[in-house]
């Protein structure tokens, strides 16, 4: 494999992440079912998390732990640990939000008897 392919892969990671985000946003904005909206939001979250991890990734770097290579002082690069930490936090938060959202969807379904967001418009203007 040559370098060009690796470069392409590099961008492909970003591209995939952004694509996943866009798919999620599309789902949240265009789908009428509450469940699909929640899924869309969650998917776009995942895409964003991928993007963040990709930003922190360093080609050829090691895991950001006290690995022998790092301690030896040899010229080994370390992947930036901060984005990974951030993503961990963001995943947890995303999980929480999704859980609340699903709970609300259940209540909405009980109250309105439908999952179509266009029909849940008691509050307006």
């Amino acid at each position: 494999m040559d370098n060009a392919l690796f470069d392409l892969l590099d961008y492909a990671v970003y591209g995939t992440a952004i694509l996943v985000m866009l798919i999620g946003i599309y789902g949240a904005l265009a789908k009428k079912s509450l469940l699909k909206i929640v899924i869309g939001l969650s998917v776009s979250d995942s895409g964003l998390n991928m993007l963040i991890v990709a930003i922190g990734y360093l080609k050829g770097g090691t895991a950001p732990i006290f690995s022998p290579g790092y301690l030896d002082g040899t010229n080994k690069l370390m992947v930036d640990p901060v984005p990974q930490a951030l993503v961990l936090t963001a995943i947890v938060i995303g999980f929480g939000v999704t859980a609340v959202a699903l709970a609300l969807v259940i209540r909405l379904y009980r109250h309105h008897g439908t999952l179509n967001i266009d029909e849940i418009k008691n509050l307006k203007w």
Binding site: A28, I52, G96, V100, A101, L123
Partner: protein
Amino acid sequence: MVGTPVLFIAIPLLAAFLIPLLGMIWKELVRIVPGLVLIYLLILAVNLLDHVMVHGPIIEIIAGWAPPIGINLVFSAFSGFLVTIMIFLGLLIWLYSYRFKKNVGYEPAKKYFLLLMMLITGSVGIVLTGDIFNMFVFIEITGISAYGLTAFYTGRDSAEASFKYLMLGSIASTFLLLAIMIIYSQLGTLNMADIANRIHTMNPTYKIISLIFFITALGIEAEIFPLNGWAPDAYSEAPGPVGAAFAGIVVKASVYAIIRYIFTIFDVDGAFNFLIIIGMLTLIIAEMAAIRQEKLKRMLAYSSIGQMGLVLVAFGFGTEEGVYAALFLMLNHAIIKSLLFFSGSYLVYNSKDKLIAEMNGLGKKLPITSFLFALGAFAIIGLPPFAGFWSKLSVLTAAADKNMIFIMSLILFVSLIELVYYLRVVNRLYNSKEKASSIEVKKPTANALITMLVLGGLILLIGFYPDVVTGVLHKASAALMDKSQYIHNVLSINQ
């Protein structure tokens, strides 16, 4: 000193998780503990604010890592002032909702106070933190507890409001995270002071894109038009005290975040004019929507959105006078709008369909509540000699000093609209022509009454003697304007 800034976050968070446990010991503890915590925090806040006024900001390092690597909390005159308002308001909200309605049982009360403590933790955290990712976490904490509080009443359409709030809230968090990552990928740091120090080295395109993302994300929380679709619903469906908490605590924290980004972190001058533009848009459209509302709480919600727009306009002047005016507005808004929400929710409670049209002659049945509502309405319109007048005067003075006559006349025109819809309600309260529906009158409980009276007293106090607050406000606005001092203070701190 009674403590350090970290207690503002640690104690309420701890209390929030202890509440269900304490409830097992004695059910009344669920209601009492939050109050004790907030009283302690208020004492702490006042003490620290007093200290900060004289000795300069307190910067606290968390977990032993000095900035720019570790997380730090900054309790300056500016952030300290906001924290004090929030805690004070939190205390009043606690007092008001101690027995807000006689029929609220143990289970709902437990959840309510748990979420309220979380809400306060998150909002105070937003204001105190010196780290942008930490701020993201606090915004999410605030958000999740706010969704929960919005959906508090099961019988109404509150789930719908909460879902809208959640939808926009998660979009906001996406944008916020994106913006944070843009900053991080360019500068390799998350510390606010460090970013501010090095922001001029950043590629201008990335800088502006990240600023736009920040404004969008925080604008959703701060109810900026057109990002505020959730706000009227959430305000009108949440319990009355929660409405006050949104207006007085959550939105203030978000506005603080926007201001911190624009004033301290970024060095984009156009952002000030942008603030004026979106602030004016928010103000005008919200007030125009407010005048046509049939429901009282929804009207208050739009009015609250409009006030926040005005705050942003005042910040957008970018002068110290402007900041002073904006802070004064925030303070008054916290006091007056809370009073309106508190008394308004009893007025609503006494009308069947929550319609303004049903409130004819309620002034006779609920004399004190109606009187306080009228006082709040007069104050928020900016009639002297009540508190609102001084902030309106300072906003207009700041505008005139920047020679923005057009903005000034727009603000005054919008005030006229505001005046009309508030007076319509007050007129109804004291209109004896039509008989109000003969349902049983639900009088406010003693604690609710005390809270409202305290707020009413504050309105009069600030109105007659504004000196009680102007000193703090001047210090706070000076602290915000002095950007290099902030950077120096944070970065020079050592272990």
